[in-house]
Symmetry: D2
Subunit: 338 residues, 4 copies
C-alpha cells in the first residue's frame, strides 16, 4: 500500500500514519514530492491491510494498494525522477551520461589508455570487467582483484569513476572498495542474495535487465535493492532474447519509455550488447537517446579485433568519438545535452 499525504498535512498527522504502519507490522518508507509526503508500506506482516483504515486518517490525501508488486521503485511512490550522482553529474538529470570502456580489463596499460581515450571523447565514467561471467568455463574469466587495481589506477590517471561487475554476494565488499558503481549483470538480475548484498552495501548500483526478464521482473529486482534502503540504482536495457538470429540480442527500445513512465529510476541503454554488431552500435545509441534514455553504456576497445571478449561489438576509439558527437546532436534535438 502507498499512502499519499495532503500537501498541507501536519507533522503530527504524518507521524500518526507512520505509527499506524509500524503498529500493523510494516516498515514505513518516506518519499517527498512537491512538498507532499508519500509513505510506502514495506515488508510482511500477519495483519491484513485495509485501505479504508488509512484513507480516513486526518491529513491523508489517498491510500492505494499497489498492484504491480513493486513500490519503492514506482512513480506512484516517488513521482519525480531520481538522480544518481556520478562524477559530479547526475544520472537522471538533463545531461545524457556515457559510461564507456572495454568489455574486460585485459592489462594495466590497456585500461589506462582506454580510460584516457573515452574521457577525452566525453565519457563520464569508465567501464571494464575484472570478473567476467562467461558461458564456457574455458573462456577468459577476468583478472579478478588485479583487474580492479588496474581500474583504480585508470581512475587515478583519468579522473573517471569506475563501473565494474560483481558476481557474488561474498565479493561485494571487496569490489566496492575499488568500484564507484557496482554492475549487476544480466545473468545475475535475479540473483537475489547478490541484490541484497548490493543493496546493503549502500553503493551505487547499475542493474542490467536479464535477457528473458520482463520489465516487471526488472523493476522487482531493483525493488530488492531499494528495499535495503539503497536508492542509488540505475536500471539498464541491454537486449532480450528473441527468435531473431541476425543480431546478438533484440534491443527492446520500448523498454525505455516504459521504464521511464513506470519508475523514477534513471534508465541506461547498452547498445553494444543490444545489437552486438559494431557498425550498428551508433544507430542504437542515437535511438536510445531519442527515446529518452538517461545514459549509455558502451564497449570501446583500442583494437577490437584482438579484444579478449566482445570484440565484434566494441567500438574503436575513433568510432566512439564520432558516436559521441552524433549522440550529442540527437540529445539536443530532444532537449537534453550529452
Amino acid at each position: 500500500m502507498i499512502v499519499t499525504m495532503k500537501a498541507d498535512a501536519k507533522a503530527r498527522e504524518i507521524s500518526d500514519v507512520i505509527n499506524k504502519v509500524r503498529a500493523n507490522g510494516y516498515d514505513p518508507r518516506l518519499s517527498e514530492c512537491d512538498g507532499g509526503t508519500i509513505i510506502g508500506l514495506v515488508g510482511e506482516s500477519a495483519t491484513p491491510l485495509r485501505v479504508e483504515d488509512y484513507q480516513e486518517m486526518p491529513g491523508v490525501a489517498r491510500a492505494e494498494r499497489v498492484k504491480s508488486g513493486y513500490k519503492l521503485v514506482s512513480r506512484a511512490f516517488h513521482p519525480r525522477d531520481s538522480k544518481v550522482p556520478l562524477n559530479g553529474c547526475y544520472m537522471g538529470d538533463n545531461k545524457v551520461l556515457v559510461i564507456a570502456g572495454p568489455c574486460s580489463v585485459e592489462s594495466r596499460t590497456q585500461i589506462i589508455e582506454a580510460a584516457c581515450a573515452v574521457k577525452e571523447a566525453g565519457a563520464t565514467a569508465l567501464r571494464g570487467g575484472a570478473f567476467k561471467p562467461r558461458t564456457s568455463p574455458y573462456s577468459f574469466q577476468g583478472h579478478g582483484e588485479k583487474g580492479l587495481q588496474w581500474l583504480a589506477e585508470a581512475r587515478e590517471v583519468s579522473g573517471l569513476p569506475i563501473v565494474t561487475e560483481v558476481m557474488e554476494p561474498g565479493l561485494v565488499p571487496m569490489v566496492a572498495q575499488y568500484a564507484d558503481v557496482l554492475q549487476i549483470g544480466a545473468r545475475n538480475m535475479q540473483n537475489f542474495p547478490l541484490l541484497n548484498a548490493a543493496g546493503e552495501s549502500q553503493h551505487t548500483v547499475l542493474l542490467k535487465r536479464g535477457m528473458s526478464a520482463t520489465i516487471t521482473d526488472l523493476l522487482m529486482a531493483a525493488e530488492y535493492i531499494l528495499a535495503c534502503g539503497n536508492e542509488r540504482v540505475m536500471i539498464c536495457e541491454r537486449g532480450i532474447r528473441t527468435f531473431e538470429t541476425s543480431t546478438r540480442f533484440t534491443f527492446d527500445l520500448n523498454a525505455i519509455p516504459m521504464l521511464k513512465s513506470l519508475s523514477h529510476l534513471p534508465v541506461v541503454a547498452d547498445p553494444s550488447h543490444g545489437i552486438g554488431i559494431r557498425q550498428h552500435v551508433e544507430s542504437v545509441a542515437k535511438a536510445a537517446v531519442a527515446a529518452g534514455a538517461d545514459g549509455l553504456i558502451l564497449e570501446v576497445h583500442e583494437d577490437p579485433d584482438h579484444a579478449m571478449s566482445d570484440g565484434q561489438q566494441s567500438l574503436t576509439f575513433d568510432g566512439f568519438k564520432t558516436l559521441m558527437e552524433n549522440v550529442r546532436r540527437v540529445a539536443e534535438a530532444v532537449g537534453r545535452t550529452a
Copy 2:
C-alpha cells in the same frame, strides 16, 4: 549468383554475360551503380552454375554466389539506396516521409477529416484500412470497397496519396484501382500468392514484417515482389512477438540499421503497432528516425477512445502534430529533413 561488371566493361561484354545467363536457363536482372552494371541471375534451372565460368569472362569484375537466398533486394545487387516515388517525394530520399491516418476507414466524414488533419501537420500520405484482418471473426472487418471509395474522396480533398491493405490475391486489381500504395500486412507477409499478385500489379507496395518473421524472412518476402519485376517496394518494421507482455509487440529497433545495410529498399517504421500504447508512440517514432528509418507509418484518429479498432495506440490530431514537430528535430539531428 551476382555478376558485377567492370566500370569500363564494353556493351558487348555485358551482352555476352546476359546471353550466357539465358543459355544457362536463368533470367538476367540488371542494376546500375556508379556507371557499372550488376547482373543478378534469377529463377531455377537444371544447369548448375559455376562461378569460374563467369569470373573469367571479359569485362567481369567478379562473380559471387549469394548465400543469403535473396538477390534483387540485396545491397550486393543494388549498392545504392532505392527511392520509391510518393506524392512528389521519394521514400528512401533525404526527407523522412510520414504516412498517417486511422487504423480503419470508419466513415466518409471521418477519413476526409483525418486526411486534412494529417496533411496539415505534414504527412506525405494517408493510411486507412478498408479490409481489416481481425483475429476474431466477430470483430469489425472493414467497409470493403465502400471504404476504398471514401479513401479516394479523401485523396481528392487532401491531395494525399492512399496507402491501404489488400488481403487476397484476387482483390489486388480492385484495390489497386483506388490505392496508391498496396499494403501487405504482417499476417500476410508470407502469403506468397498475394506477394506474387502484388508484384505482378507493378503497383507500389508497403510490405510489413510478420510478427515472427526474421529479417531474412522479410527480405525473402520482398524478393518475391522484386522477382516479378516490381521494384517499388518499401519494407516496414512493426514489432515482433516476444515474451514481454507490457507492450503490444516488441519494436525491433535493431532491424532498422540491419535492413538498411543488407538491402537497398527504403525502410519504414510503424511505432503505433511497435509499442501499442499511445503515450509512448512518439518516443518510438523519434528513435526509429534516429536509427535511420526512411519513413514512418502512424495511426491517427480524431477520437481514439471511440475508434473501431486500435484506439489505444492511435494518436489524436494534436498528438500527431506535436510528434511531427519533435520528429523533425530528430531528423535534422541525423542530417535529414522531415
Copy 3:
C-alpha cells in the same frame, strides 16, 4: 453469449430463445450435449446483449458471456469431443490417426509408392504438397494441379484419403475437387479470406498453428471456419518460434492439453516440423500421443536425403514403420489405440 438450456427444456422454450436471439440481430447456433441444447449467439448487432434477459427465460439453465472471444470452438458451447470423419474412422475418437507422406509431391511414382508404404505401416491418410509455400521465390514451389492429379491416383491405388495444402482462397474449389482434407499451413493461419473460403467449402480442414500464434489466436482462426457453418476442423500444433536454435521450431507440447481442455476440436501434432530433426521425430510423436493428441501428421520420404524439401526432418519408410509400432504402445498406455 452462450445460453445453455435445461436438460428438460421444452421445444417451445428452446424456440423462444432462438427467436429472441434473431430478434436481437444475432445468428443462433445449436449444439447438443447429454440431451441438453446449447445455443451460441454469433455475429454483430447494434443491440447490446444482456445476460439477465436470457437468464430469466423459461427452460434456460444459464446464460454466460464469452470472455475468450471464441464461441463455437469452445468446450462451453460443445462440451463433448468433436469427431471428424477420416477414412472410415474419426479424428477425435479413441484411435490415434496418423497422416503421413512426403512434404512435396515430387512425381507420380514417388507419391504412389509413398502412399502404399505409409498405408502398409498403418497410416489413415496420405499427406503431400502440390502447392508449397516457400520462404524463397527461387525454391521449388510444387507441381500445382498436376501434383493434385498424382495425389488422386495415389488415393486410387492405396485407398488413403488425401490431405493437401491450399494457399489462396481462389484455389479452394479446385483443390477441394481433389483433396479429402484441405490443409491450411502455419503461414496462412491468419489468412482470413482463406479461412472463410475453406469454411464455406464445407470441406474438412486441417488448420495448422502459426509459428507465432498464441493458443487463443489458433482457436480464433478455427472460429472463422466454424462461423461459416463448417464444423469439420482439426487443429494442429506444429512448433512455435522461440530463441532456441538447435531445433527448427519449439514443439509446444503444452498446447496439446490446453487445446483439448479449451476446445472440442480434435488436436493433431506435427512432430516433423515441431523438432525438424529426423532422429528425434519419434520421441516427439510418442510424447504428443502421451499428452493426449488425437492424431499425428508426419513427413515420410523414400529417400529423405534427396527430397526436394524438408529432407532433414522426413522419416524413411522403415523409420515410419518403427515409429508406428512404438507410438501404438504409447497410445495403449494412455488407453487408446493407434
Copy 4:
C-alpha cells in the same frame, strides 16, 4: 580437443598422451567406453593445440576438436549414459525416478506428511525449498536453515533423500550438510560462482535450465560443474519463456531428446513449472517420459490452494498417486519402469 584411444591401446600409449597433454599446459580428463579410453583436454594454455600432433601418436584412434564448447558433458567424451546414484537407484538407469514434494518447506509437519505421502506413491526423493528465489522482495523467502532441519527430519521419517535449492556460493557447505542433492534453480543457471562452488562440493547437483537459456547454454553450465571434477550432475528441462501466455512457461519437449543425444548426463523433466497448471501436469509428465526423460521432479502439496508458493501448479496427494500410476504405464510402453 578430445582424444579417443584405440580399444587395444597399451597403458604406456595412454600415459604418453596424458603426459603430452600436461606438457601442453592442459588438464587431462579420462573417460572409459567399451574398454577404450577417451581423454578430454580441459583448461586454458598459451600453447595452441594441433590435432595432427595427437592424431599420429601410437594407440590413438582419433583426435578431434570440440566445436560445441562443452567437452566433459558431451557424448563424444563419454559415449555411455551417466548414472547418478539416488536412494539406492540411479538417475539415468532404466527406472524413471521421481522427485516430489512441496515447492516450499512450510512447517515441520507439512514436510514430514508430504514426504510420507510421496514415498508411499512411489517417489524416490523428496523436494522442498528452504531458500526460495522470489521475484518480489516482499514474498515469502523460505524458512532457511530451519527448513533444512525439517527436511532432514522428513528424510529420517520417510527414508527419502532430499533435493533442495541453494542460491549462493557461500551457503553451499551449509546446505550440503543437510541435502542429498543440491538444486541450482533456473534463475541461477548462469551464476558461475555458484556452479563452481557446487562443483567443488563434489555433492550431487540437479541443474535447472534457465528460462531463456539455449540447450547449449545449459550444457555449458553443466560443464562448469564437471570441470571441477564433479560428475554427479542431473540436468533439468523446466520450461522456457516464449510469447505464449496461456501457460506459465513453454515446456520444451524437444530439449529431452536433444539433451539425451548431445550429452551423457541424466535428464529430468519438471512438468509443474513447465506448464504451471495443475490439471495438465500429468499430461506433460507422461509426454516427458515418452520422449525419454530419465526422471521427473514434481510439486505436490497437501492442500495446494493454501500453499505458500506455486499452489496453482502443485498436485494433491491423490493427484500425485494417480499420476504415478499413469506415468508407470507410459514408462513401460517405452521399455522402462517407474
